[in-house]
């Protein structure tokens, strides 16, 4: 059984470290991820903003490829990509006319037999069962688990039990020996696609998020979405201007955090790639007593 992998564009660019750390963790736990050959962009918010058909067709191509390459499951770590792919799949499976039209666009067959996994589902299904034997460190810090929009909503796609206050990420962090805090901005929006076109909005929304995390004593913020990451990490200067104060809580990808607990060296997790130094988070880590 091949376990497919769809990195998505950001994970080849600004959020390399996400795929890097995901693959590192997977490898550590003896799980091989196979990248969908010749996958293309999901269209992200641009496609569904400007062209409905395109927003279904673009993911459809990749989904069809995955099917042809005989993948039963595909891991989609990027929350945004997952959202678009799942939406596209749902649209085609629920409406025959959409399916027909889309197959016309991509001129490929689509069967809909690939199961899409969010990063949580992947970790729960493939990493959790074996994780304990590899976890050597306690992260030993207060973390604010940040889901953002696309991991929590809409619930018919994300399949979360408690969309308003999910706990999936917390489960992972507890395994990694961190203490997740209870906070209010878990599922608030960070500004997503506006990081370039409306930086002011990003600064405001991400600002609120950082502020609440800081107020509640978070030592690190954990994310599972490249957009959330770049907004909370790269946009720190703008946020600083917005809040008129400096918050230097590092933002880690969930897989980086897990990787650290497994003692994977920082460079293999791409910790250096962040704008906000992750040193603070790393320094808290202690050996896990047997």
């Amino acid at each position: 059984m091949k376990l497919g992998f769809y990195p998505g564009c950001s994970l080849e660019g600004s959020s390399k470290e996400y795929s890097q750390s995901l693959l590192a963790v997977a490898e550590k736990c003896g799980v091989t991820l196979e990248e969908i050959d010749d996958w293309s962009c999901c269209g992200a918010s641009a496609a569904h903003s400007l062209n409905h058909d395109l927003s279904i067709a673009l993911p459809a191509r990749t989904l069809a490829l995955a099917e042809n390459q005989g993948m039963a499951e595909v891991v989609i770590p990027c929350a945004a990509c997952y959202g678009r792919m799942a939406a596209s799949q749902k649209a085609m499976l629920e409406d025959a006319s959409v399916l027909k039209k889309t197959q016309g666009f991509i001129d490929m067959k689509f069967l809909g037999n690939v199961k899409l996994l969010t990063v949580f589902e992947f970790l729960q299904k493939y990493i959790f069962p074996v994780a304990d034997q590899y976890i050597v460190n306690k992260l030993n810090q207060k973390t604010a688990c940040y889901y953002g929009c696309l991991l929590a909503r809409p619930k018919e796609l994300t399949k979360l039990e408690r969309p308003e206050n999910p706990m999936e990420m917390e489960a992972v962090l507890e395994k990694a020996g961190a203490t997740p805090i209870d906070w209010a901005f878990k599922t608030e929006c960070c500004g997503a696609g506006f990081s370039m076109s409306r930086t002011d909005i990003v600064a405001k929304l991400s600002g609120k998020i950082l502020e609440d995390a800081a107020d509640r004593g978070a030592e690190s913020i954990i994310v599972a979405c490249p957009m959330c990451h770049s907004n909370l990490d790269l946009r720190r200067p703008e946020i600083k201007k917005q809040l008129k104060k400096d918050i230097n809580i590092p933002v880690l990808f969930i897989t980086q955090a897990l990787g650290l607990s497994m003692g994977i060296p920082a460079k293999d997790l791409g910790l250096k790639n962040h704008l906000v130094s992750t040193g603070k988070a790393v320094s808290c880590i202690v050996k896990k007593e047997a």
Partner: protein, 192 residues
């Protein structure tokens, strides 16, 4: 229902929307929960709940008002509204629909031009490469908006941190992607 405004008897914006995306404004009872929860409500010129209200009433000139609004471009499709709506009105889809209409009828709000250009730059980059390359996207976007200086200070640091990767990743068979784009366009009768 509003009478068709012109001779050609095209169905009203509301009717077209109902037919295309199957969202019925009549289901909204104006509780305002969507507006209350919207992360961008402070920046919007027309509140989400009011957008539905306008669609319900269809007062003369309402189409221009909606298609020219900034709100439809500010919506980030975070689906907070939909996930809390007691009547399950898919507001984010309404926004998508209105955006596309406003582009087609080029009524796009001047304040939203940058957002639109970003989206267009994004799609063009994909059309060329099949994948998104942030460097290309950024350049393309800057050329469109001409605010070339935005983020230049960031570029070097990002570059050294390996966040920027100038050599674009491309889909082997880019033609395929182009085909998809063309077919979709044809299907729409050459809009955009």
């Amino acid at each position: 229902m509003e009478k068709p405004t012109d001779k050609t008897h095209t169905p009203s914006l509301r009717k077209r929307m109902e037919l295309e995306i199957g969202v019925l404004p009549s289901h909204c009872y104006q509780c305002g929960k969507c507006t209350a929860g919207c992360p961008l409500n402070e920046d919007m010129d027309i509140m989400p709940s009011q957008i539905l209200r306008i669609l319900q009433l269809e007062l003369p000139g309402y189409e221009a008002k909606l298609l020219g609004s900034l709100s439809i471009w500010l919506c980030l499709a975070c689906d907070t509204c939909y996930s809390r709506c007691p009547q399950e009105v898919k507001l984010s889809q309404v926004m998508d629909f209105l955006r596309q209409e406003s582009v087609q009828q080029n009524k796009v709000n001047p304040k939203a031009k940058d957002i639109l250009k970003f989206h267009q730059a994004f799609l063009e980059t994909i059309e060329k490469n099949g994948k998104l390359n942030e460097v290309w996207l950024t350049l393309n976007y800057k050329l469109k908006t001409l605010n070339l200086l935005q983020d230049v200070n960031k570029a070097p640091s990002m570059f050294f941190k390996g966040k920027l990767n100038p050599i674009p990743e491309r889909v082997h068979n880019v033609k395929e992607i182009e085909k998809i784009f063309n077919k979709v366009r044809e299907n729409e009768g050459g809009t955009k």
